[in-house]
Subunit: 276 residues, 2 copies
Amino acid sequence: MDLKSYLKQRQLLINKALGRYLPSTARFPGAIHKAMRYSVLGEGKRIRPILALAACEAVGGKVSSVLPAACALEIIHAYSLVHDDLPAMDDDDFRRGKPSCHKKFGEAIGVLTGDALLTFSFELLASGSHNGASSVHLQVIREIAKAIGTDGMIGGQVVDVDAARRGGVPPATMEYINTRKTGALISASVRIGALLGGVSPKAYQSIRHYGDRIGLVFQFVDDLLDKDGAVRLYGVEAVRRKANRLTESAIAALAPFGKKAEPLRALAQFILTRDF
Amino acid sequence: MDLKSYLKQRQLLINKALGRYLPSTARFPGAIHKAMRYSVLGEGKRIRPILALAACEAVGGKVSSVLPAACALEIIHAYSLVHDDLPAMDDDDFRRGKPSCHKKFGEAIGVLTGDALLTFSFELLASGSHNGASSVHLQVIREIAKAIGTDGMIGGQVVDVDAARRGGVPPATMEYINTRKTGALISASVRIGALLGGVSPKAYQSIRHYGDRIGLVFQFVDDLLDKDGAVRLYGVEAVRRKANRLTESAIAALAPFGKKAEPLRALAQFILTRDF
């Protein structure tokens, strides 16, 4: 398959949907809606929503039934970046080539924009239930809340903040950061796409296996690109070998889905070989 | 009814439930769970969860079916206080007689604790659906997300931050801040209790009327105590008259519920006459 044009087409679809779902700047109070749109729209690979859409289609579901949740994943990702960039956190003045949210709108709006994006993502996740069973939507909300909570993304950040202060961590702690900080939301994106696509319990196990593996690969590649984390601990070669093995295992788990999982296979390779 | 002992008994019930629901400090990473418990447990009137429980009982529902959501309301309230206290926002060193979260644990943990509390509240709202219809739980999540989003609590804060910077606002803007900043979550607490108590569509209109009115009264009394907001604009006497009239109208809306609404009536009087 032509991954490049597939990605481009999906990014367009997701960007259009994000623009439609996010509150308009014409709505009062405009300042916060402007900051929300600034932080979500524009540049962005949209990996999380693309994974959710692909997982939904792999299990035979329709794109329309997962699009709001897929956009919620991207909005959650944006919230985490806005708060990460704050002076009290990583203190980054730039994000994707533009001034970071708090640099552009001030620190108070930076805090409130992250809060507003996180809140809005749950509003989005709880709407559109006409497309599926309410109990599945509740399960999706639980899965996401766990993936970004203190045993997921926030947990990874807390331990990472602490590790940076100490200047080094034991391998077990590194493993914890690896699976939680970025991997948890990536894996959850895959699971959520499958759940909203109406996956069977048996197929869900396979999809889950794929999601867990590529979540880890995503974080390992981050570390390879930053020469940080696992790379400092195990060295470039060992991390590359681990990432290769995990990608093979992820792709092997997709066998039951046949041709419908072609995008998920290509995405696994893409995540392994990306250079951004 | 003896409101004082009613409040005390309900506070005990809610504090016990909060202690049970919130992640234990023994769970890794302990630092964030410690900061979460520090920010929620201890002092606190628990007005929002008490209103939710009372509204549930007024419509004939059971306390057990609303307890997790009631605790989520208190956790959301705590998140808003933790982020409000940050240096970029109100810059408060103390909260309820103790060092504020960021003073105690550092600013990075302050940001992350607010995020973690907000995230956890949605996890709590999405669980326990065995006690009721999933579609009602989804409706509750939507109601809460709206009440604390950019057309609710966050919207009120954004406009308030802007008003403080300008040093004055027109009456319409004051009205906006009044209904959103504190009132929206108070009103939502009442609606949510009724929804989870299995309220009929007709009774819901009455309960909603009550909730909207006491949400406004709550904010007016805040302004009377702080000599701020509406008081600066209309004067003490006019605000007191408005608050009295709204309380009467709120209580009048409870007529269809008879004796079961006794706590809601007493709570309306309590909110009007409180001195904290």
